[in-house]
Amino acid sequence: MIRLDGVEKEYGGWMARARGRVVRALDGVSLHVPPGTAMGIVGPNGAGKSTLIRLLLGYIRPTGGAVRVDGMEPRAYVGSRGMGYVPETVAIPPAWSVGHAMRVFAALSELDAPAAKIDGVLRRVGMEDAAHRRIGALSKGMLQRVAIAQALLGQRAVLVLDEPTGGLDPEWIAELRAIVAEWRAADPARVVLIASHDLDELERTADRVAVLEAGRVREVIDLRAPALRFPAYRLEVEATPHAGEAVRACFPDAVAEEGPDLAFRVQPTDTDDLNRRVAELLRRGVSVRALAPERETLEERFHGAVGRGRGRKGGR
């Protein structure tokens, strides 16, 4: 659906070039987003996320490489089919009313029966009573909801969300998650791209996450793939006099946690190994209070990817 091949983007005209002040925002980015994917884009500030999104919408052109959306140049694709888009900074003329803004967006999309569709999307974002309100008088969260509403107008195949939770309260962050899920469920081939610093939110919404740093894709993390190795477990036992000793006997590599509970981090090799060792622990009279797998969070993987990138950069 979306394919970037060796995409480069430099900012600066011939004057900047002559002075050697060209800014390289993207440096050989290759990324494939197949139909039906929710792709997250994360990275530190200045990593190239916004440039990537502007390229996908056709607002800028790559300096090198190719960007294709459903086989088309981005501007040609957006000009003919449109993309649902919620920008990081929502800008709508402040003198317009919410209703007028939605009518303009519906007219730009050349929708049939726009009034019913506008009512529907405004109701979905809880703004059905705000159609008469001026854009300039809306709070940041309400403005964000108007932007979400206009992105839902028309039957788009691609939805691009740039920091979509900015300004939304926790209730509406959860609601946005539900809206995106509904939007995807309506057509399983739909693609959603979410650029965000909120890694917890991405972990809940995205299938894959591209980690960008210094204009390069450091890693594409598949959040739906099974873990590559058997996870570590957190084992908590009743604090009896010989419990710690028994745990160490059964799990020689157990690492005790600091804190009031008697808990350990243990690393079995597989499920059978885990069951065998736990059975031995129980046989020794230790009472197990909790046993939970430890998953590597997106945040840990993100820091790992960025850290590796910095390590490579430092090594050059």
Binding site: G82, Y85, A91, W96, E110
Partner: protein, 243 residues
């Protein structure tokens, strides 16, 4: 889309109507009373209102188009507009066309209403509407190009160009009437006259119309000037990246 654009222009249209009122008050031709009308019609030909109409058309385009691309670029409104299936060139062409149509409608209404109010009859012929149509095209083209090229001040650029052209014509007239040798060579003078908006071409058209024939060359040059800047604006809009 057109009704929505008209709705957005309603405050600017009020400004244009206020300018109409000011032009009516300032144009001496309209204040010749009925008892002196016969003489006045000889002294000030009704066709002279074509120049008032032309200035009104230019002013109307400046008001209606001010910032029409530049503001969208500078404030980032384009981000949401063009995520919908719309081509920027088509969108801004439509907005320009609505402004042009509105300007012609205002000029036509002013043409009728002002003459009826002043003299109780229509004295000027319909050919007085050719000059406002050309003037709107010329200054509409200049504003369009400036709006795409600069982040702000597009209408001020066009207004400055109008004033410079007026000064330039005064400069040429002074040397023409006094017989004093102008400081610039004929080639330079022609070059400057060629680059500036062709006000003189409209004067040529008017003089030819009074003499009973049509100056199509002058009309073509004036129209071509406006179309050139429109085409340049379209090319720049198509080729420029969005900020």
């Amino acid at each position: 889309m057109i009704p929505l654009i008209l709705r957005q222009l309603r405050v600017r249209l009020l400004v244009v109507l206020a300018i109409c009122g000011a032009f009516y008050l300032l144009e001496p031709t309209f204040h010749v009373h009925a008892d002196e009308a016969a003489d006045a019609a000889q002294a000030i030909p009704p066709g002279e209102i074509a120049f008032t109409l032309a200035n009104l058309a230019g002013a109307s385009m400046l008001v209606l188009l001010a910032g029409f691309v530049a503001t969208d670029r500078r404030r980032g409104y384009y981000r949401l507009y063009f995520s919908h299936p719309t081509r920027p060139l088509a969108y801004y062409a439509l907005r320009w066309g609505v402004a042009y149509g509105l300007t012609l409608a205002v000029c036509a209404a002013f043409f009728v209403v002002s003459q009826l109010a002043a003299w109780g009859e229509i004295r000027a012929g319909a050919d007085a509407l050719v000059q406002p149509a050309l003037f709107a095209l010329i200054y509409g083209g200049v504003v369009a190009f400036a709006s795409v090229a600069f982040p702000r001040g597009d209408s001020l650029v066009a207004l400055a160009l109008y004033l410079v052209t007026d000064l330039w014509q005064g400069f040429l007239s002074f040397f023409g009437e006094t017989g004093v040798a102008p400081p610039l060579s004929p080639l330079v003078r022609q070059g400057i006259s060629f680059v500036l908006p062709p006000h003189l071409a409209l004067r040529d058209f008017y003089e030819a119309a009074r003499a009973g024939h049509a100056a199509w060359g002058a009309v073509g040059f004036a129209g071509g000037y406006g179309l050139f800047w429109l085409a340049a604006a379209a090319l720049l809009l198509w080729s420029r990246e969005w900020p």
